[in-house]
C-alpha cells in the first residue's frame, strides 16, 4: 500500500536536512524527485482497498447482527437457505474471479465468516446445548478446505485464531485442572502456533508469491512468546506448588529456553528481523528480572539494584538492536 522504498529515500533526505548537509531548496527538490507525495494512481489504489475492506467488514457484521436478532417469524429452513445460498454464491464468485485478486480473496473471507454464522444459527434453532468449543472447532474444520487452497494471509490468520479459540474453550469447558495457571494449555498453544510460524518461514524462503510481508510471522511470534513467558513467570514465583503437581510442568523452562535460543539464532543469523528479536529480548528481560527479583530480593534496597539491572539489560538490548537495525536496513520491510 505504501512504497517503503520511497519512504526510506525521503527519510534519508530529511536526515540530511536535519544535519544541515543539504539546503531547504535541495530537500524540497529531492522530495519532489523521490515522489514523496503519492501519485493519482496510488490514491485510487488506496481508496479501492479501503472501501473494499470496510465494505466487506460492514457486510459481514451486518449479516451477523441480522441472524443474532433471533427471528421468530422466519421459518427455520428459510434461515438456513439464506445463509447457505450466500456461502455458495460468495464461494462461487470467488472461484470465477481473477486468481489472487482482492475480490477473490475478500469473497472467500466472506464465505469463511458466513460458515460461523451458519453454525451459530444452527445452535440457535436447535438449542443443542453443545459447548461453545464445538462451534469453533466445527467452524475451523469446515473452513479448513478453502483455507488450504487460499492464497490470502488474513484467512490463515482467522483460521489460526479459530484453532486457538477452540483449544482454549475446550480446555476451559472439558479439561478442568486444579492449577490456577493452565501451563499445559499455554505450552500446547505455543506448539500449535510454532508449527504455523515454521511453515510460514519455510514457504517464504521458497519464495511462494503470496507469502510476503512480515506482519503475519510477527503476530504469530508475539502470540508464542506470550504463551511461553506467562507460564515462565508463574513457574518462577510458584515453583514449589507447581513442581509438586506434574513432571511435564517442569519442562516449561526447557521449552522456553530452547525456543528463545533457536529463534534468536534464526532471526539473527539467517533472517534478520529486528521486531521479532526485540520481542525475544523483552521476554528475556522480563524473565531475568523476575528470576533476580525472586532469588535476590532483600528489602527495599534491592529495588534500586533491580532498576539498574533492568537499565543495563535494556542498554544491552538497545545497542544490539541498533547494530541489527544498521545491518538489516529495510530488507525485510520491503519484501
Amino acid at each position: 500500500m505504501i512504497d517503503l522504498n520511497i519512504t526510506n529515500v525521503s527519510n534519508n533526505l530529511f536526515e540530511f536536512a536535519k544535519t544541515k548537509q543539504i539546503s531547504f531548496a535541495a530537500l524540497v527538490k529531492g522530495l519532489e524527485l523521490s515522489n514523496y507525495r503519492p501519485e493519482e494512481y496510488e490514491w485510487k489504489k488506496f481508496a479501492n482497498l479501503i472501501f473494499l475492506v470496510l465494505g466487506t467488514c460492514f457486510l459481514i457484521s451486518g449479516i451477523f447482527f441480522f441472524f443474532a436478532y433471533n427471528w421468530n417469524d422466519m421459518p427455520k429452513s428459510a434461515k438456513f437457505a439464506i445463509i447457505e445460498s450466500m456461502i455458495v454464491l460468495s464461494t462461487l464468485f470467488s472461484a470465477i474471479k481473477k486468481p489472487c485478486s482482492y475480490a477473490e480473496n475478500y469473497l472467500l473471507l466472506t464465505s469463511t465468516a458466513l460458515v460461523g454464522v451458519l453454525l451459530a444459527v444452527f445452535g440457535q434453532i436447535y438449542q443443542t446445548g453443545a459447548d461453545a468449543y464445538q462451534l469453533f472447532a466445527g467452524w475451523t474444520l469446515l473452513i479448513a478446505g478453502w483455507v488450504f487452497i487460499s492464497n490470502f494471509l488474513p484467512i490463515w490468520t482467522i483460521f489460526i485464531v479459530l484453532i486457538n479459540t477452540s483449544l482454549i474453550l475446550y480446555w476451559i469447558q472439558i479439561c478442568h485442572t486444579s492449577y490456577d495457571m493452565p501451563v499445559k494449555l499455554f505450552e500446547l498453544l505455543a506448539l500449535v502456533n510454532f508449527v504455523f510460524l515454521v511453515l510460514f518461514e519455510l514457504l517464504q524462503n521458497k519464495k511462494i508469491f503470496w507469502i510476503k510481508g512480515r506482519w503475519f510471522p510477527r503476530i504469530i511470534y508475539f502470540t508464542i512468546i506470550c504463551y511461553l513467558t506467562i507460564p515462565m513467570i508463574a513457574y518462577i514465583f510458584e515453583f514449589k506448588r507447581m513442581s509438586a503437581n506434574d513432571f511435564i510442568l517442569l519442562l516449561c523452562p526447557l521449552f522456553y529456553c530452547s525456543f528463545i535460543v533457536c529463534s534468536i539464532i534464526y532471526y539473527f543469523k539467517f533472517k534478520i528481523d529486528g521486531v521479532i528479536l526485540s520481542a525475544s529480548l523483552l521476554s528475556c528481560i522480563i524473565i531475568t528480572t523476575s528470576l533476580i527479583g525472586k532469588f535476590m530480593f532483600k528489602g527495599s534496597g534491592s529495588f534500586i539494584i533491580l532498576a539498574l539491572i533492568i537499565i543495563i539489560q535494556g542498554t544491552g538490548a538497545g545497542l544490539w538492536l541498533k547494530n541489527i537495525q544498521k545491518d538489516q536496513g529495510e530488507k525485510n520491510e520491503t519484501e
Binding site: I6, L33, P38, G55, G301, A317, G318, T334
Partner: protein, 361 residues
C-alpha cells in the same frame, strides 16, 4: 538506517539529479546511515525505562518512607531534583547517543515526574491545580529534556491533564476547541515538515507530531468510554465533527491540488460530498472521522507507522459507534449491510472512474 539495493539506487539517482541541477555541490559525499533508532529499539528502551522508574520509586518510598510520611513537602523538591538530573545528563552532547545514560535519565525523569505530581497533590489538595502544574512541567520538559520517547509521551500526558481539568471545572465543551486545535496543529505540522527539518527544531518534529496524532485519537476513546474515570458527558458532538470536517476538507483540498486528473474531471466534488455525507452520518461519533483524517494524512506522507495505528483506531471507533446505537439488532444489521453495500458500490465506481480517466488521458 541502511538502505536496501533498490532504495540505494533510487537515492543515488536523486543525489545525481540534485548535483546536475546544482542543488548540492559536485563534491557532495553522503552515507545513508541514519542516526535515528527504529520504533522497536525505542519501544524496548521505553519499556525498560518505565519499569526501572517504578523500581526507583519503590526504592525511594521503601527506604525513605518515614521521612516522606513525616514531611511530605520534601516530595516535590525531590521530584524536581530528579527531573533536573535527567535534563543535565542529556545536556552534554557526548551523552546524546549513549543508550545507557539516555535510559537512566528517562527512568529518573519518569520517577521524578511521578514524585512531583504526588508532591503537588499533597501541597495543593486540588486535582485541577495538579493537572495544570503537570501541563507546565511537561511543556518545560519537552523544551529542556532532549529525549524522543519522553517527548512522545508528554503530548498524550498534556491531553489527559487537560481532560482532567475539563472534568473538574465541569467544562466538557472545551473538548471541542481542543479537538479543533489539535487537528489543525497535526495538519500544519505535517505540511511544514520540510521547513521544520531545516530549522533548529528538527529534533522536536517526529516525537511531537506522532504524540499529537496519538493523543488526538486517544482523546475520543478516553472521553466516550463510560468505564474510564475521565468519561465526559459531552453534548453537541457535532461541534467536534464540524471541526474535523473543516480540517478534512482543508487537507483534501491541498492534496487534490497535486492530482491533475481528479481536478480536471471534477471528481473532487464527489470527494468533498462523500466527506460531508460521512461526517453527517457519524455526527455524534467524531472519532471515526478523526481516524480517517489521520489515515489520509499518514498515507499522503507515506507514514506506515501512523497509518497502522489510525486503522486500528478507526475500527475501534466504528465498533463503539454501532455498539452505542440505541436501536435493535435488526436495525443495526440493516444499517451495516446497506453501508457495506454502499462502500462496495463506491469501490466499484472508483474502479470505473479510474478506467474512464485513463481513457481521457
Amino acid at each position: 538506517m541502511k538502505l536496501n539495493k533498490s532504495s540505494e539506487q533510487k537515492f543515488y539517482d536523486i543525489v545525481s539529479e540534485l548535483k546536475n541541477q546544482k542543488y548540492v555541490s559536485e563534491d557532495f559525499a553522503y552515507s545513508t546511515n541514519q542516526s535515528e533508532s527504529a520504533w522497536y529499539v525505542n519501544g524496548i528502551i521505553g519499556f525498560c525505562a518505565w519499569f526501572s522508574a517504578l523500581f526507583i520509586l519503590a526504592f525511594i518510598f521503601g527506604t525513605f518512607h518515614r521521612i516522606l510520611y513525616d514531611s511530605p513537602a520534601v516530595i516535590m523538591p525531590l521530584g524536581i531534583l530528579l527531573c533536573g538530573t535527567a535534563v543535565i545528563i542529556t545536556k552534554h552532547p557526548k551523552n546524546k547517543n549513549n543508550i545507557f545514560l539516555n535510559q537512566l535519565s528517562l527512568a529518573i525523569c519518569i520517577a521524578g515526574e511521578i514524585l512531583f505530581i504526588i508532591g503537588t497533590q499533597e501541597k495543593f489538595h486540588s486535582v485541577s491545580i495538579n493537572a495544570l502544574i503537570t501541563i507546565a512541567l511537561q511543556i518545560f520538559l519537552i523544551i529542556l529534556y532532549n529525549n524522543y520517547i519522553h517527548r512522545f509521551l508528554s503530548v498524550p500526558a498534556i491531553f489527559v491533564a487537560l481532560l482532567i481539568i475539563f472534568k473538574e471545572i465541569n467544562a466538557a465543551y472545551l473538548t471541542h476547541p481542543l479537538v479543533f486545535a489539535s487537528a489543525f496543529a497535526i495538519l500544519k505540522a505535517w505540511s511544514y515538515k520540510q521547513n521544520i527539518f531545516c530549522s533548529k527544531f528538527s529534533d522536536l518534529f517526529a516525537p511531537i507530531s506522532y504524540g499529537l496524532s496519538f493523543a488526538f485519537l486517544l482523546t475520543f476513546l478516553i472521553v466516550i468510554n463510560k468505564e474510564t474515570s475521565l468519561y465526559l458527558e459531552i453534548e453537541n458532538w457535532y461541534l467536534s465533527s464540524a471541526a474535523i470536517l473543516i480540517s478534512l476538507l482543508y487537507f483534501e483540498n491541498s492534496a487534490i491540488k497535486k492530482l491533475t486528473l481528479i481536478r480536471k474531471n471534477k471528481f473532487y466534488i464527489l470527494v468533498y460530498l462523500f466527506t460531508i455525507l460521512l461526517t453527517i452520518a457519524t455526527l455524534k461519533s467524531p472519532g471515526i472521522m478523526a481516524a480517517f483524517l489521520i489515515m489520509l494524512i499518514s498515507f499522503n506522507y507515506r507514514n506506515i507507522f501512523m497509518l497502522s495505528f489510525s486503522v486500528i483506531f478507526l475500527f475501534i471507533y466504528i465498533i463503539f459507534f454501532y455498539y452505542d446505537l440505541e436501536i435493535n439488532l435488526l436495525m443495526k444489521s440493516q444499517i451495516l449491510i446497506s453501508t457495506g453495500i454502499l462502500f462496495l458500490i463506491i469501490k466499484y465506481l472508483i474502479q470505473k472512474l479510474q478506467f474512464n480517466s485513463e481513457k481521457t488521458v
